[in-house]
């Protein structure tokens, strides 16, 4: 029996969050420091997870298994593979940054704010490490409660509308997935994902299960046309909430496609891949155009997130088209790695951009693009960071944003020229909306007295953005550390998704 590292990673933040809440708002600085220590410990605990992970194996590692509900054959069953590991690292990393970023900014009920993020962290790690479908679902849904409170309590003016919309949208998608999971359980007699992978299913069953999963994951990603909750939630959420939403919660959708849809319903995925690819390309092109006309910085980044997540879903499903076009599965792994790298990269870049907007918002209390202009004159260091992250968002080579997009476009080329053509439009559109945003906000003459009075980054903000900048560049220059870890798992996944269950 090895040390239960995954349990530690899941429960330490949850228990830490509860303690932080009990510390209460009468001692805010104690609650802050305590939360930071817990988040840092979780980040520290994820280091041995990475170091101890055997990157040459596709098997679940750090497995923990104990009976949970024996009558349902559902176990407390945790484990990580090459898909889950990077996402867990992203979670622990982002949470520390979010805690630091909210340090003095949050004045109302700070202890509950930090507690909510710690509890979120534990639940998200639970989602990524659960190898039992029921356990997965419990974490998946439980996550909604802290996020509901984060947006609702600390959000902007229309926060209540946004948070209820967020909750109901995602809840609606998830309950359909629940029906599919229960159905699979009744077919297999076991809630473990491994049993679901083995279960033979007829085409009708697969299509219905696929659609149920699709309802859950497409809302989370989010894909057109069920994306409308995201701009609202992002805009109204406090900075930390936007960061966690963009960096991790959206990844749950992509993770779900990789973990559930592709291996459990391979034939339905093959049959319905046109639906996913079509919606992904619409997201890339149409939402890219929508992002162009936004007046609100957060909304612009939110739409840009939807467009970028379109690459993730495209990369997940383009493999089937590659088989049709070339007859071999060689390019499918490429698409999947592209999707994974894109998820991690988007987590870093969009998180960083939301933090940049947060920095400006904390000073001038507006997110309107029109209220800024010439920020670089008063905040040169901030301007440099903002430009870097904007470049990463536009997919400049050398930044992490380039790697994922490049891999997915490469894979799309193998499937069809037109997929690649439409996907590559993002290079133009993405550059257009992000660079135009930078031009209007950062460059130019000082627009008004507000901008003139701006003070540059303080040490705390510099630390957060600096760490993110290093991560973005490191991943862009040397993505091999990431792709090596997931390569065997993705190859195994390609085998699963290409093997018919009929």
């Amino acid at each position: 029996m090895h040390f239960p590292l995954l349990s530690l990673l899941t429960w330490l933040p949850i228990l830490g969050g509860i303690v932080a809440m009990l510390i209460g708002d009468t001692r805010p600085s104690l609650a802050r420091w305590f939360s930071l220590v817990v988040a840092a410990l979780a980040l520290g605990a994820s280091v041995p997870l990475y170091l101890g992970f055997d990157g040459s194996s596709a098997a679940l590692q750090f497995v923990e298994r104990a009976p949970w509900i024996p009558s349902l054959h559902s176990d407390y069953y945790l484990g990580v593979d090459g898909i889950a590991l990077p996402l867990i690292l992203l979670t622990t990393f982002s949470t520390v940054l979010v805690v630091i970023a909210g340090w003095t900014v949050i004045e109302r009920r700070p202890s509950q704010y930090f507690a909510a993020f710690l509890i979120m962290e534990g639940l998200m790690i639970g989602v990524f490490s659960a190898a039992d479908a029921l356990l997965f679902y419990v974490f998946w849904e439980a996550m909604l409660i802290p996020m509901f409170l984060i947006i609702g309590v600390w959000g902007g003016a229309r926060r209540i509308y946004a948070t209820i919309k967020f909750f109901l949208y995602t809840f609606l998608g998830s309950v359909l997935m629940l029906v599919a999971l229960v159905y699979l359980y009744l077919r297999t007699g076991d809630y473990s994902l491994a049993a679901f992978y083995r279960a033979p299913l007829t085409m009708t069953e697969q299509v219905l299960i696929f659609l149920a999963f699709f309802a859950a994951f497409a809302v989370k990603v989010p894909m057109v046309p069920v994306h409308t909750w995201l701009p609202d939630a992002h805009v109204e959420a406090p900075t930390g909430g936007s960061v966690i939403l963009a960096a991790i919660m959206l990844k749950m959708g992509g993770y779900g496609f990789l973990r559930f849809s592709l291996p459990i319903t391979p034939d339905a995925s093959r049959a319905l891949d046109g639906l996913v690819i079509g919606l992904s390309l619409i997201a890339v092109v149409y939402i890219g155009l929508v992002a162009l006309v936004q007046q609100d910085m957060k909304k612009l980044i939110a739409y840009s997130s939807i467009a970028h997540m379109g690459f993730v879903t495209l990369g997940c499903f383009v493999g089937y088209e590659i088989v049709v076009a070339t007859g071999g599965i060689a390019g499918a792994t490429l698409g999947l790695s592209g999707a994974m790298v894109q998820m991690i990269s988007h987590g870093l870049v969009s998180g960083a951009l939301f933090l940049c907007v947060g920095v400006l918002y904390d000073r001038l209390h507006t997110r309107e693009i029109g209220a800024y202009g010439g920020v670089v004159n008063t905040m040169p260091i901030f301007g440099a960071f903002m430009v870097l992250f904007a470049m990463a968002n536009a997919g400049l080579p050398g930044t992490s944003g380039f790697v994922g997009e490049f891999l997915v476009i490469l894979a799309s080329f193998k499937a069809s020229f037109w997929y690649a053509f439409l996907a590559a439009l993002t290079l133009i559109l993405g550059a257009a909306y992000t660079l135009w945003l930078v031009k209007r906000v950062v460059f130019g003459a000082v627009a008004n007295d507000g901008v003139a009075s701006l003070k540059d980054l303080n040490g705390r903000e510099f630390l957060v953005l600096g760490v993110l900048a290093i991560a973005v560049l490191a991943l862009g220059l040397y993505p091999k550390t990431l792709t090596d870890v997931m390569e065997p798992t993705l190859r195994h996944l390609v085998q699963q998704m290409m093997t018919s269950k009929l």
Binding site: W68, I69, S71, I145, I160, L168, L176, Y183
Partner: protein, 478 residues
Amino acid sequence: MNPIPAYDFALAAPELWLLGATCLILLVDLLLSDRQRHFTYLLSLVTLVLTAVLVAGLPDGRRLAFNGMFVVDGVARLLKLVATGTVAVVFVYSRDYLVQRGLFRGEYFVLMLFATLGIFVMTSAGSLLTLYMGIELLALSQYALVAFDRDSPVAAESAMKYFVLGAIASGTLLYGISIIYGVTGTFDLGALATRLDAGAASQIGLLFGLAFLLAGIAFKFGAVPFHMWIPDVYHGAPTSVTLFLGAAPKLAYFALALRVLAEGLGSVVSAWQGMLVVLAVLSMAVGNVVAVAQTNLKRMLAYSTISNVGFILLGILAGTPGGYRAALFYTITYVLMALGSFAMIVLLSRKGFEADQIEDFRGLAQRHPWFAWMMLFLMVSTAGVPPFVGFFAKLYVIQAVLDVGLTWLAVAAVLFSVIGAFYYLRVVKVMFFDAPAGDVAVSAGPALRILLSLNALAVLALGIFNSSLVETIAKALP
């Protein structure tokens, strides 16, 4: 008729004790002055504790007494224990509320104990007649309890409405029973099961009787379209009575459905399954949709009851042992959640002020964060969000329905629960996101505070560790 052996009385010991003790309390209460009324309260609690001890001492397995009129089996034992606990909790919850309103009178406790006796008789019914006796004892006590605040015109109106509609429902039920007797020649549930085979499902006489019987059961449960009384009665009754109405009797009505449908008419599932499907879907639809429009928390919870009854019916209509177990799990956990939710109203109410508007919970998270979290647990659990127990209750029911191939029904159920999530969230929204209005004071004593906290925490704990409850239920309902 055989002479009744003494052993039969031993099996009915909890009921006999409860009856004797309640009559005694009624007499003792006459001799007490208002200042000594707490003695009645204590006596009632002691009575319940001893009843629970007697129930726990009942022999294992399925035993028949009084020529099969009276059954003691696993379900009966479990339901009696839960009912005793529920009523005891209701007493503790309502004490301060009653004292503040001058309603702290002996009759309150005596009536509730008689209602408990009715629940006991129903859970142990081996024949349709025993069942009917239990129903009437429970119903008559409830009519009186609703009108307990006799100076309140709303309460009197509710009681009147409840009484008239309840009498019609009882009549319907009795009519159904008499027709079933006419068709089969027996009141005995065991004999009914052996005399009916699957072919009887198309017998017109039986179907005719069954329709009336089901209408009666649906009325008691409050399933749509027999739900009209629920919001008015829950709203009109004093909150301490609503506490009781919303919780304990559900256990008895589950027993009613189980005894009649599963035991007596189990062989003709196909005859009643379709009717229950209609009742369940309508209840979930109407309950959830109409609850959205409520501004009064008691009315909202009343409609929430209606929708939850729809879920309980889902488990029953599956007609499988797994389905009955799921419905029992749902009933017990629902009782726990309803008890806590109504108790929150009691907690925030004080002399001259009923906190029964949703608006009254505004800003609770800032004034009393602890109780705001407890209410959040209860609301989110009732909405069916994991890891709270309400999620698992829904999971088991949906699993039972999927198991018999009614996939569309499972999908309908989860979609209605999304609608339901909205109004539970609205309560959370009011507590956490809105600024406090006026002073939200908690004047309740420590007993209520501690018990209510335990109640809400149990909703979380039973969710994460629900296998013990699942196993208890599996043992009770093999």
